[in-house]
Assembly symmetry: C2
Homo-oligomer: 435 residues x 2
């Protein structure tokens, strides 16, 4: 069994010397006095692993052992805790994590893909070999979202977890609104500045947010992360009009990851999607690259945690907090539950959940169009809270509609009925309202 | 040494059956399934203590042992954990806590006055007898502020902790602004509705916020709570004009508790005061009775936690989270530090800290007044960022001034020089800007 700071010194091996790995090294040195006072002993990095041993990273590696192979690092006798900041569901990082867990060691990882997609395997290894796994840094960077939920709200029955979990997307949406620019334009700038990757799909299609959501959901509701069950929709199709009309309707358009118990059935509904958040919800005003997690739970009501979701400092803060947990002998049940309480729910779809929705239609601008659209809604029993028509480009018009709460089945019927109208130029865009 | 859930069952005694005590009882029953899954065992209340054994509290006490004396409850063999929700720095609650700690037991308390004012004694008892003390519920109700700071941000060097720590004051300030009403008027309504006590001084003079701040400060900076070192100023003298002018100058007026390292000296500066918060600071939009804690730290940058700071549910959530910590074997160093890092600083005053400030002057409305006032500021080297004069009541005028960052010593000289002007009707009111 992994045991914490038994000998008065904890020996750490760091697999991966990118931004986060170097950040961890730097943090352990710079805040050494505070960290020792808080653990009652020393945390010492003994060995590191990286692809390139010689590259200058601005930190002194000369006193540290170097392993070209991360799994060999994990196996070293002078490594009590493996810090894995390589990433990926397979390859060097994953191999090192598995090797350390098989050796019954403690692992601290920032690898959200691995924990989200192979969480069950990791849990089995921890259970079999008596090691420990910490993953605060995998979710929402510097925000102590895992500890806040798993320890801080441990007495609660969670009703929903919702988060702005991808800083790149929040940055893009904020900039579109603030500078009245189109998605492609802002994305290109973000890529030029290095805020978004050359291949941005991991961020903007919601995969990164979904990895974090799967982990949060497991901690909130029990079980292991169920990444495959997440409904995924990114921000590629969000238009400037959507964002501006959101404000007109007293909403803020955010890419959220949401998990909540499925209405009328077992399991948990998990989705990542751009949704409309009412302006009086505190998450609506979380801008730029900030992340936030909002938990609705009984009996605590609503808790929001807000902070930086990425970057060297915030991520290193979370990694080292996990090392300190281990040093202090803090080792809560993996994913927060000693025994499972509810299946994470393999089915997808919105089920019977009733939601308000926001619709954007592009139609031919001719008399009677609003009447045609309204009749479709009325025939399907979907009632309108607010409707607004604007000129799109002379011959075409946008119709924006806020509809009252209704189940997905009705919304689907309305969508396909609208699609059959001759005035419709393109398929309607529909956003959930996160009330 | 207190040991957690050794036998598979943890036996709890609750001292105090007011709102919070009943809330804890109810929560342990209602969320029993979740809580067992998260601890791997049962949490069972075996005994309770209250002044009146017979009053109907809406919960079934018939299977529980009853002790009239809380200290006797603490001493019972079938009580592993004492939950103390009586309150007070002396009397039944304090006696029970001391008795349990002397017996080497675990104590979970919501008693902020006791922890803030007698923290050193409690720490000595824990160290001597090997018990454990948990106090999440003593600070900011349902917000996991202690765990967030002590575990979540354990790797950081804290630069400041600032919080909206008293819901009654935040409610009053919010209502004054929203309904354009005077302080006395809103306070009277809050008392009539039961939101504020008949003797409201504990809340509105900042004592309650200061108790919480002393605890937060100890966890953030090391040492034990130093309640006596806190500069205290409540909201009695806040006028509607101050609140409205705050908005005019892009600030929100909030009662904050703030702790930060003293500039240019050892120790920590702690104060509770109504201060001006820039509107782009996320704490500025925390309204009504919500609480929030903002931590500025290296390397995590800024973390905000927001939620309900009082009430049966949120407080019970924090109490039971602490019981679960103990059940899981989680017992971090008391106040977060195994060894002290910095004296908490007995001196008071703002020292050399440079701050922007907001001034409200009431002056005779005659020509040349602004020039007189400006000259005083200029002579003392205090430069003006913005100045605004409004009519107060025909013969008198208000002058509101935002001054650039300057040390307290200069602000004090300006205040006394202004006081010497014949046009001044009353002493100037000065607010710090929390940049």
């Amino acid at each position: 069994m992994a045991k914490g700071l038994g000998s008065g010194e904890l020996r750490i091996g760091i697999a991966g010397l990118g931004t986060v790995g170097v950040g961890v090294l730097r943090l352990l040195t710079e805040n050494q006095v505070e960290i020792s006072a808080r653990t009652g002993g020393a945390l010492r990095v003994t060995a590191v692993s990286a692809r390139d041993a010689t590259r200058d990273r601005g930190v002194d590696l000369s006193v540290l052992a170097f392993e070209a192979d991360a799994a060999a690092l994990a196996a070293r006798d002078d490594v009590d805790v493996l810090v894995e900041v390589i990433g990926g569901t397979s390859g060097a990082g994953a191999d090192a994590v598995m090797a350390a867990l098989r050796a019954g060691k403690a692992v601290v990882t920032a690898n959200k893909a691995l924990v989200a997609e192979r969480g069950a395997e990791l849990a089995a290894l921890v259970a079999e070999h008596g090691g420990a796994l910490y993953f605060e840094a995998a979710v929402a960077g510097g925000i102590p979202a895992i500890k806040g939920l798993r320890e801080g709200l441990a007495a609660n029955r969670v009703k929903s977890v919702a988060g702005i979990l991808n800083g790149t997307c929040n940055f893009i949406l904020t900039k579109m609104r603030a500078e009245r620019r189109a998605f492609d334009d802002v994305l290109a700038e973000a890529q030029a500045l290095g805020y978004a990757e050359a291949d941005p799909s991991f961020d903007i299609d919601g995969v990164d947010a979904a990895h974090k959501l799967a982990i949060l959901s497991a901690v909130a509701f029990g079980g292991v992360p169920d990444f495959g069950a997440i409904d995924l929709r990114g921000i590629r199709d969000v238009t400037l009009e959507d964002i501006e009309m959101a404000a007109e309707f007293d909403f803020s358009l955010k890419l959220l990851g949401v998990a909540k118990p499925r209405v009328g059935g077992p399991g948990v509904r998990q989705y990542v999607a751009p949704v409309m958040v009412p302006l009086d919800n505190p998450i609506a005003s979380v801008e730029d690259s900030f992340n936030a997690v909002v938990v609705q739970a009984d009996p605590v009501d609503e808790i929001m945690m807000r902070g930086r979701g990425a970057g060297e400092g915030p991520t290193a803060s979370a990694v080292v907090a996990d090392i300190i947990d281990f040093a202090r002998g803090i080792n809560p049940p993996l994913f927060g539950h000693s025994t499972p309480v509810a299946a994470s729910g393999a089915a997808s779809g919105e089920g019977a959940a009733e939601e308000r929705r926001f619709w954007r239609l592009l139609v031919d601008d001719r008399p009677g169009v609003i009447a045609e659209v309204s009749q479709v809604l009325s025939e399907q029993g979907l009632s309108v809270e607010k409707i607004l028509q604007t000129d799109a480009d002379g011959s075409r018009a946008h119709i924006f509609i806020l509809t009252h709460a209704a189940p997905r089945s009705i919304a689907d019927k309305v969508a396909s009925a609208l699609d059959g109208l001759s005035c419709m130029v393109e398929q309607p865009a529909v956003y959930s309202i996160e009330d």
